[in-house]
Subunit: 247 residues, 2 copies
DNA sequence: GCAATACCGCGTATGTAATACGCAGAAGAG
DNA sequence: CTCTTCTGCGTATTACATACGCGGTATTGC
């Protein structure tokens, strides 16, 4: 009954939605997309994203490298599904919060979900419009939170762009600063302030220099959490004013 | 005279700042970091980021693959410098704009700079705190724009996080939707709306479904530009209210 | 029942990268 | 003039993703 247009998105994504339940002829399938993805997530949790190779994931399942390609067309699809699985669905929203508290909760939960599996940060760059189940579930929840605000749809989507961009930006910086303490790209936080002092010498970059002298980039890189809240609240203030202005 | 701490950041970044001018003994150097980076940028402009391999860049310079490693420790450093070079310095800021117009201009310029070389989108994920000259120049300009607002430094930085996150998020989505029309990951925009209708069937994802029925995801993917402006203005509204409240 | 068919897991092979290592020659230092 | 330090670069290693095809299996049409 479906039109034959079902080829628009990769088969693995269709499969993740539970569509595409082919009645099949050949031997029984030994694996499941779900099992593959969760094995890959486990590898990433344990040994980092770089450890996720097709052969490693195959081994983890007691299977071979190439068997996975019966379920996935490319590694990229695996990564997309890993992100979806690791972030998971949005936690259920308490009723009657009001849109503002709702969005605060949404943003905070998303940030937490991402940082639970730090490697997801490296997968946030979208490879296309959101299409996986959990990703769309988050979007859906966002839109439901704004349901009764009277905002037009396009404003709701634009709001989502702003808020999720903020989350994204925040987790990326956080990960880059606090988590990537690999000796390869040294860049230890403690070296950062002296470095900035050095390059802002001789009157270069006066704005930055002034910030340094006011104590930005001080000891504690935990400040980013405050930055997160600050930016979120300012954004919500702006949205709130706009919603009020619509009446 | 420098303390011996100069090893905090990769040598190539130090070199990009013009520090590290070693008086050298051996043969004259045949290349320059600058030439390498601009050759790499040229390759990316012509054939995409995936075409940028060490050997390809070497060839482009009439040199060998391994010669590059006298200037760069890893390919990652090359990518970092490519981003810096492609984005370039911020355009000079008109005087007397006021902070709000200033930030609008900053955000718009940054968006334009990134989209001038679409491949830069894939390099935006930070690998550490910003350290390259142009990157810091943008940050510097941002801070100077906020100079007379009375905001504490940490609020200025948090504001930068919010605004740049918005730019980032916007260009990423834009690139993912409009530019990645590779047949590999099909996902043509025109297939997106039908896809969403399919997965929101049966009462699933009601928020999304409502948005669909209101005409979101309609024909024209040029709407993201309006989304960009909307989000930016809301954010600035919030900042403005906050600045006012400080008096 | 039975053959044809479509699909399974997976071994093998290919191609492309990044990059470690070491050599031979060049140029400034003493 | 020799020693040291640095150069460009050839070679070799390692690690992947993934194309291709084989031999076997379970379902389907007769």
């Amino acid at each position: 009954m479906d039109s034959e247009s079902g080829e628009a998105f990769p088969a693995s994504i269709e499969a993740a939605w539970g569509l595409r339940e082919r009645p099949h002829k050949g031997p029984k399938r030994g694996l499941t997309l779900e099992r593959i993805v969760s094995a890959a997530v486990k590898v990433a949790d344990e040994d980092g994203l770089d450890a996720v190779s097709m052969s490693r994931v195959g081994n983890e399942l007691g299977s071979s490298t190439m068997a996975l390609y019966r379920y996935l067309a490319t590694k990229d699809e695996l990564l997309t599904l890993m992100l979806d699985a690791a972030v998971g669905p949005p936690p259920p929203l308490p009723e009657g919060l009001g849109w503002r508290r709702g969005l605060e909760s949404w943003a905070t939960s998303m940030r937490a979900a991402i940082l639970t599996h730090p490697w997801t940060v490296h997968l946030l760059m979208p490879k296309g419009p959101p299409a996986t189940p959990n990703q769309l579930a988050w979007l859906d929840q966002f839109l439901r939170i704004l349901q009764d605000t009277g905002l037009p749809v396009s404003a709701k989507l634009a709001t989502q762009l702003l808020i999720s961009g903020h989350v994204w930006s925040h987790v990326s910086i956080t990960a880059a600063i606090t988590l990537d303490t690999e000796p390869g790209s040294l860049r230890r936080w403690s070296e950062y302030e002296p470095f900035l002092r050095r390059v802002t010498g001789g009157g270069r970059l006066p704005g930055l220099r002034a910030a340094l002298d006011e104590g930005a980039f001080g000891a504690d890189p935990g400040a980013p959490d405050d930055h997160f809240v600050f930016g979120l609240e300012r954004a919500l203030d702006g949205i709130e004013a706009h919603i009020r202005s619509l009446r």
